[in-house]
């Protein structure tokens, strides 16, 4: 595979489902220097190829599956791929990231990414095997859940090596706006990428690759040194070390639940409180002690090349949902079906997690929306007429699981309300419910209360894909005490959010590494690995991080072109007008406007949140300027 490209294979697949064509095209190497891979390269493709106002579920929207230059290399956690598209849930930019083994397999099959366009007339899947790709009939798979789909396709191609599959389930087939794409029980979860795949009649993508990690690297000696350093740091850190029984290793991502709850930041009963009184029933320790199988057993399935291995497998051995086996649940999922719905029954949370994977639908958004509907139900804004007879009260675990099951196939009114997300549900219900429909740009809030961490409030509001906890994640500093920042104040939050956003965009979301590795090592080491893998030289770390700033401005411009402005960098009234109820931030609301003013100024954007012509030019994004400012003037 060595040649003029390193880190990258230098080839993309372009799949046109309308024409049933599959063609190879070269990676734009200059673009890969400017935007790297993953999210960055996906943004470069979609900004240029999608027209303003394109229907996200129509034939002209596209799905880009991209790896990064470290995907499939020896870099620890180099197992990520990302999916970029225009979201049908928000109408805004969308990128989602996923671990497992699919990304490395695509790279080893000889491709950096796949651009999917058009719509197939009948159910179809794509098969990629070592530089060969073809479209196949998927009629026999249509209607299958994700587990069955994956098993059938793996059986089908078992003779071709180790097939890896990314697929949609019944939710994606029905174009539920919360539908996800699943691969090895991991989700490309948020914003409805599964609905886009379903709208294209694309059931799955199977990849088999026989390449090797070292094939992709330019400077093997430097890579080995950087990889050793990365492993050493992961092994040293108290949170990621297996030898030190780090929290992330032993108690999974849910190890943070206790700290977030103690800080008054774990949203409870649809953000009516920031503290869950039954925390000890649903924290990482409780799941580890009760439901998770031992780490060393054959049932655990870590992502490829991950020394942290945060994933766990739960088996329900009692009660109504006995026999349920699920991967996780993760921190966000525990919250979504736990405190958010007032539920502390671990078996119900595990069941809801399983059902979301089975149907292919996003756990965070589904749980958020059910919690919202529970509040509407308890306040009398909806009744059993709207819930199809379900007694949708906080704490009713059976009703919660029932609602998830209905959402998976958009069954009835309740299934449709849940499966299409909280923004649409609140618009349909009205009666003032918009004030506590917890979303930004249509994407449901995840598991941090922004009134308990001002920086998280700004992060949710400004995020390109809507309320996201990872762009950036200030909660560690504001609530868990790392290099602590005061969660009550806004000082320093705008610069923290700007720095974090651009670092994440390049070093993690565009490199192919997992963000969880950032707990152990920083962007400087990622830059070393990127240089070793690709041969790209950076004058200094700032030049590397400037790629992240460029990517963030590009996705911002994507949204501006779609009509998004400051008014959309918003939070619901609950965050802006209702004082928080517990903890050190009791009595506070989010001071969003003040933070946005400072944030936009730091970014070089107008007061309305639009990147200026000068800022875009300084980042080499003149082709973007023309589209959002025209040839002459400038948006205010």
């Amino acid at each position: 595979m060595k040649g003029s490209y390193f880190g990258f294979t230098g080839r993309l697949l372009r799949v046109n489902l309308s024409k049933r064509s599959v063609e190879e095209e070269p990676l734009d190497v200059e673009a890969s220097k400017m935007f790297l891979g993953g999210k960055g390269y996906g943004a470069y493709v979609l900004f240029r190829e999608l027209k303003k106002g394109v229907d996200p579920l129509g034939r002209y929207n596209k799905l880009v599956f991209m790896t990064g230059p470290l995907t499939g290399t020896t870099a620890p956690t180099g197992n990520r791929f990302c999916v970029c598209t225009k979201s049908p849930l928000t109408g805004a930019w969308l990128d989602c990231h996923c671990g497992g083994s699919w990304g490395p397999a695509l790279k080893w099959a000889g491709y950096d990414g796949i651009v999917v366009e058009g719509c197939a007339k009948k159910p179809t899947y794509l098969y990629v095997h070592d530089s060969d790709a073809s479209l196949k009939d998927a009629s026999w798979l249509w209607g299958s859940d994700t587990f069955t789909t994956e098993r059938l396709l793996k059986d089908e191609y078992a003779g071709d090596g180790v097939p890896r599959v990314a697929e949609i389930g019944p939710a994606g087939e029905r174009k539920a706006l919360l539908a996800s794409i699943i691969s090895e029980v991991r989700a490309v979860g948020r914003g409805g990428p599964g609905a886009v795949m379903g709208s294209k009649n694309l059931k799955a993508i199977v990849v088999c690759g026989s390449g090797k990690p070292d094939d992709l690297v330019k400077d093997s000696a430097s890579m080995r040194a950087a990889v050793r350093e990365a492993h050493r740091k992961i092994a040293d850190d108290f949170r990621t070390s297996r030898a030190k029984r780090g929290g992330l290793v032993i108690r999974g991502s849910c190890n943070i639940a206790d700290g977030i709850n103690e800080a008054g930041g774990w949203p409870t009963r649809n953000f009516q409180s920031g503290s869950f009184d039954r925390i000890l029933d649903v924290d990482g320790d409780a799941f580890a002690e009760d439901l998770w199988v031992p780490r060393q057993s054959a049932g655990t399935r870590p992502c490829w090349n991950c020394p942290i291995k945060c994933a766990h497998v739960a088996i329900v051995d009692r009660g109504r949902w006995a026999g349920t086996v699920t991967e996780g649940p993760e921190y966000e999922t525990v919250w979504a079906f736990g405190p958010q719905c007032g539920v502390s029954d671990r078996t119900a949370i595990a069941r809801a997690d399983y059902l979301c994977d089975y149907f292919g639908i996003d756990t965070i958004s589904v749980g958020n929306t059910i919690g919202f509907l529970m509040e509407c139900f308890e306040k009398g804004l909806i009744s059993k007429t709207e819930t199809d007879g379900v007694d949708l009260r906080f704490g009713n675990a059976e009703a919660m699981v029932d609602a998830v099951e209905r959402a998976g196939t958009l069954r009835g009114n309740l299934g449709s309300l849940v499966g299409n997300g909280v923004m649409r549900a609140s618009k349909k219900i009205g009666k003032g419910s918009e004030a506590f429909a917890m979303h930004t740009k249509g994407l449901e809030f995840p598991a941090y209360e922004p009134r308990a961490a001002q920086g998280m409030g700004l992060a949710y509001a400004r995020s390109d894909r809507g309320a996201c906890h990872l762009r950036p994640w200030t909660a560690g500093k504001e609530m868990l005490g790392w290099n602590a920042m005061d969660p009550r104040t806004i000082e320093g939050k705008a610069s923290e959010v700007k720095r974090g956003t651009q670092n994440i965009a390049v070093a993690w979301d565009s490199s192919g590494l997992c963000l969880f590795a950032s707990f152990a090592f920083d962007e400087a080491l990622v830059q070393k690995m990127v240089t070793a893998a690709t041969g790209f030289e950076f004058k200094d770390l700032d030049e590397f991080l400037r790629i992240g700033e460029r990517i963030d401005n590009l996705t911002r411009a994507f949204n501006v072109r779609e009509g998004f402005r400051r008014k959309d960098d918003s939070l619901p009234d609950r965050c802006l007008k209702e004082p928080h109820d517990v903890g050190p931030c009791r009595g506070l609301v989010v001071r969003l406007d003040e933070m946005l003013d400072e944030y936009y100024a730091l970014c070089g954007w107008t007061k309305d949140g639009v990147p200026t012509r000068e800022k875009l030019a300084s980042l080499g994004l003149d082709f973007v300027s023309e589209q959002i400012h025209g040839k002459g003037g400038q948006h205010d």
Binding site: F238, G247, L248, R251, N255, E262, L470, A475, G481, G583
Partner: protein, 104 residues
């Protein structure tokens, strides 16, 4: 010679609530009250608790600092925002002690 009358010194005490999680909760109990001399700081509390669990987890370094594997919140705020282990405690304070965590 008449025996000297000893005068008992009145020691002012405070009561703080401790909430401990994960392996620390299993070792210490998840929630309990501790009485300390008035003027005690977080370090004093951690030394007291260290005595209860011996070497099972490190709650305070020999130099009196909070070790990197531990997170301590005082009334929900990291003590890093005040004076770390030298943060003085008051009557009714809630101290949360947790293993260092990361995720999301």
């Amino acid at each position: 010679m008449s025996p000297s009358r000893s005068t008992a010194k009145v020691v002012s005490m405070i009561r703080v609530r401790v909430r401990a999680f994960a392996q620390l909760g299993r070792a210490l109990g998840h929630e309990f009250d501790v009485r300390l001399r008035s003027g005690s700081d977080v370090g004093d509390l951690l030394r007291l608790l260290q005595g209860r669990i011996k070497g099972r987890s490190k709650l305070i370094s020999s130099g009196g600092a909070i070790p990197p594997g531990l997170s301590v919140l005082l009334n929900g705020l990291s003590v890093q925002l005040s004076a770390g282990s030298r943060t003085v405690l008051s009557e009714g304070d809630v101290v949360s002690i947790l293993p260092a965590s990361a995720g999301g």
